[in-house]
């Protein structure tokens, strides 16, 4: 039981990193990773939203949609729930903790259409995870996203200081640098399954 949870956590942070190996949430990854503080703020905000979204969508799927045999409404319901959640979270933060809102809240609207959030909630259902496993997987995916963001912001700050040939300036070099980071993460493949073997 505990072992399964650890495996889910580690593999979603390292091996199956949503950004670097499944390309979910690539827009904020490439867009908001220029500065370390931005990257960290975005990463934490995404992790928080993923956790809350998974905690809300799992019961909806199993206690509302499945009994009503309305699995086909999953997509609409999930995305609306996520959008509403994000809005609510922003309002609450604004009202009760302006300082936290300044640090994290600003990234929230960007997250509504972040495919990693919808992705993790749907994937939890596809993988038949229990509620606890879903939460662990959401946490792992979020942490993996944060890790990738933080690492990549370091790479980005180096790129900004280098002299890059004109055709590669901006997007292309960012993508190619991301490719190398992804190559490094590929090295984790096969490790997690064998740690406990």
């Amino acid at each position: 039981m505990f072992k399964t949870l650890i495996i889910i956590l580690l593999s979603s942070v390292l091996v199956d990193n949503y950004v670097l190996s499944r390309f979910l949430g690539i827009c904020p990854f490439l867009g908001v990773s220029k500065k370390l503080d931005q990257a960290t703020g975005m990463g934490i905000a995404v992790t928080a939203v993923m956790l809350i979204a998974s905690a809300v969508t799992w019961p909806i799927q199993y206690w509302v949609l499945n009994p009503l045999e309305m699995g086909y409404m999953q997509n609409i319901v999930f995305i609306l729930v996520i959008a509403a959640l994000v809005q609510m979270l922003e309002l609450l933060l604004k009202k009760f903790s302006p300082s936290l809102h300044k640090g994290l809240g600003v990234y929230l609207p960007l997250i509504t259409t972040n495919c990693a959030v919808l992705g993790v909630t749907i994937q939890n259902i596809i993988d038949d995870y229990t509620f606890l496993e879903s939460m662990v997987s959401a946490l792992g995916v979020g942490l993996g996203f944060l890790l990738a963001m933080v690492l990549f912001s370091g790479v980005r700050s180096r790129i900004d200081e280098s002299n890059i040939p004109a055709p590669f300036r901006g997007l292309p070099v960012t993508l190619i640098a991301a490719s190398f980071l992804s190559l490094a993460f590929m090295g984790f493949g096969g490790i997690v399954e064998n740690i406990f073997a």
Binding site: G31, L110, L171
Partner: protein
Amino acid sequence: MKKGSNLDVLTRGVLKENPALVLILGTCPTLATTKTVDGAFGMGIAAMLVLICSNVFISLLRNIIPDTMRIPCYIVIIAGFVTIVKLLVQAYMPDLYTTLGVYLDLITVNCIILGRAEMFAGKNPVVKSALDGVGMGIGFTIALTMMAVIREVLGNATFAGTPIPFLQNYKISFLSQAPGGLLVYGLLIALVYIVTKGKAPLKKSFSCAGCPNAAHCHTACTEKGDEA
């Protein structure tokens, strides 16, 4: 070609404003589903179907949908069509359904679709919106297929699943894995820059401009956004 004519609307999505290579939208599926030609082509067609339907529907309702509620309305409409396409693919093309997996669901949050709804269909008549959907869809499919051909042929020595005999010993297998996707995409965009002598891609770096949420997202973009 007169700007804004029907023909212009149809063709600009294919070349001049190709969503994947010039507008740089829909990055997730571009990277994730281009391991195989089959998957990429299927993804392109599926996204095109959703795009055409949602463009038409949103354009029809553009005068009814209140401005403040438009993003949720758009999302519901798009998610609806995504589910319809998903159910149809699941029923009639099970192989493709297995290949695309969760990415089929994630067409909902594909920026191209929400982006076109926001930038075009919400402001233009039905016929033009439909043509825009067709053009953008074709452009997206072509870009995806092109990338998949490069990745599958060089990375796996196959074309749409058929082995290419003389390449069998020269596979660059990392191209068909995750890092290869990012690399090939980066190189293609650089190529577009060279071919168009720097006029394209329109988006020079990843920033909030072009993001369909930009207008909505007053905070991150204005306060901390892209200073570069």
